[in-house]
Subunit: 225 residues, 2 copies
Amino acid sequence: MTAASIRARVRAEMTDEIKTVARRHLATDGANLSLRAVARDLGMASSAVYRYFASRDELLTAMIIDAYDALGGTVEAAVSGTGFPDRFLGVCHAVRDWALANPHEWALIYGSPVPGYQAPTDTVGPAIRVILVIGRIVGEASAAGEVPAGEPIGGRLGDDLRYVAERAAPGTPPQLVARAIAAWIHLCGAVSAELFGQLNNTIEARREFFELQMRGAAAMISRPA
Amino acid sequence: MTAASIRARVRAEMTDEIKTVARRHLATDGANLSLRAVARDLGMASSAVYRYFASRDELLTAMIIDAYDALGGTVEAAVSGTGFPDRFLGVCHAVRDWALANPHEWALIYGSPVPGYQAPTDTVGPAIRVILVIGRIVGEASAAGEVPAGEPIGGRLGDDLRYVAERAAPGTPPQLVARAIAAWIHLCGAVSAELFGQLNNTIEARREFFELQMRGAAAMISRPA
DNA sequence: CCGCCGCAAGAGCAGTGCTCTCTTTTGTGG
DNA sequence: CCACAAAAGAGAGCACTGCTCTTGCGGCGG
């Protein structure tokens, strides 16, 4: 039993080592990760890497999951303060700070998906951590009476939102969940815009502008149209 | 003279043909465009393509410029209606519709930039057409007294915004320009989120949700925090 | 009419993902 | 403790990529 786990542990360590080197390559070279280059850095034949990852896509998927988890963990740990706007703004800055520190990993998870873009089901768990944090903050603010529900939403969208609300933030009004998702999308858009160069030669006071935007997003939640 | 222009015209036609085939490849295979495959489709040697584009990056740059121009032209042509929110919402839907029809080209211009790729200055002109349209709409609404200016913004961000405002939308209050840019970023974020699969298994009533979001963005402009 | 220059073609280099076969290592069950 | 099978690594090889270089062809300008 313990004997069998020796093999497994060595294998896990090797897998981690590969991912570490791959992450380093990702940080320098960008998304076009070369399996052979990683193997060279590890001093092993490229074919040996295939014992651990069936394909380059599988390695990338592992990197994506790790990136989601790193971001999710950072954001979850950053939740603090009291009162709705501050808690939300804290999350926004945590997301932005992580993205600025790990731009290529951000691009990996929130940029354009690579060719086939088949997201395995393993990724959805880590992927939703950030929006779940936002949902929790908004839900708590709603329960505390800090934010109004706003006008109900009907139709198919209403159904979708009810479904999402009861699964992700039970007790939170669906229309509020909609505004939370919109704020999250605005957050991701703002970070991507800054990171992908959409603001180049336009706005240099990035942090201030980001803060302004996210205050607007918070206001959009606190004060529905 | 006419002779010289014959050469030039043939060359331009060949260039267009390459770009057309490249665009087709882009639409099917995604962003990892193969110059050799394009050459094969054209029945020519891969080395011949280099007579027209010095590198794969240069071809991609041309595609990017074309995509920006196609989107910009579509959006400019779609501006209609009267009154601020409707005009803005029309632009939003024009952007989304174009993106849904040309997902890979959207990914090319608003997705993660390809590694090591530096946007040449030729791209900035076409790139800013959409935000200029939004700026014009907001500026006109401001001139017509349809939207308030909101509280002034100081500091470095205020300087940036004043600079942008006087160059892109003279006479429009800088703080309003900030909200216009924020709305544009939210727009891009919403389209990317939908296109890149961030809404998968969550919200199926995409158009309705998009409309809701953009109504929120419009309200953010009409009614500053 | 000739020469020249733009154009195309092909070979070639270095790199890639991935597969196959072969060898070595190594944990493990008896 | 030891033989063995399973796991791991190595290396060659295939098809592909971007890009360069050299060579030949042909239409255009003088």
